[in-house]
Symmetry: C2
Subunit: 115 residues, 2 copies
DNA sequence: TGCTCAGTACGATAACTCTCGTACTACGAG
DNA sequence: CTCGTAGTACGAGAGTTATCGTACTGAGCA
């Protein structure tokens, strides 16, 4: 199953025009979610939910992913038993140009990862 | 630094290097504060606290201004019986380039003021 | 001295959020 | 069919936040 075939299940998310600035800012104003977003911004591939090394329980992770999805920051798609996550970079850039980039850059800079 | 001699009364605020991204995002993720910041971004002059037409009580306003100041988003200076507020645009731009601009632009766009 | 205006301090309350553990569903592998 | 893996649902507890009203301080003015 190496083919694309991804959009098999749509998940509740706001349309591009429905993305609210406050919701996005609130979604990003949490250390766990900021880390997730920063990780997602790194790779162009989709990543499943448990692949992030954040020190929280599974159910907490579910909560954070829902917040991100409902704010319009990420998109979630079923793939087998997993749920693949990807940033809605283009949608965000269309609605709030430069916002995501500056946040991700700021996070990387202030968490001074060697990478 | 030739200059402005404004600091007649210093108010507790983080140094440029101490401004935390999450605190800034959290400060901006509130409708009242977003409106204040957007208003401040419009004028280059300093504005006193009660000059904003936000539908909240005086004490609530004090709370919001403290959140903004402690996050490093605004600076407050005494002037007579008033307290003048100004955006720390340069400090924010130095630490998180583009962030404030995109947030303000996004807020203006989405609050579709007939302006 | 006394009055007024700008803002603070202090509860108090209601709402929201982050976190967890446990129980549950859904899918795929064997 | 059975089992393991990925994720959800559902409380529940602890902490934070937004909001208010009332009482207070402090600067300027008459």
């Amino acid at each position: 199953m190496t083919e694309t075939h991804e959009a098999c299940a749509p998940f509740p998310e706001p349309a591009v025009g429905e993305i609210r600035l406050e919701a996005v800012l609130h979604a990003l104003a949490d250390p766990v979610r900021l880390r997730i977003v920063s990780s997602l911004a790194g790779c162009t591939d989709q990543v499943n939910c448990l692949a992030f090394d954040v020190p929280v329980a599974k159910s907490t992770l579910t909560h954070h992913f829902r917040v991100l999805r409902e704010a319009g920051v990420i998109r979630q798609v079923r793939r087998g038993t997993s749920k693949m996550n990807s940033l809605r970079s283009e949608d965000l850039a269309a609605r709030f140009p430069g916002l995501l980039d500056s946040v991700v850059a700021g996070h990387r800079a202030s968490s001074r990862y060697p990478l």
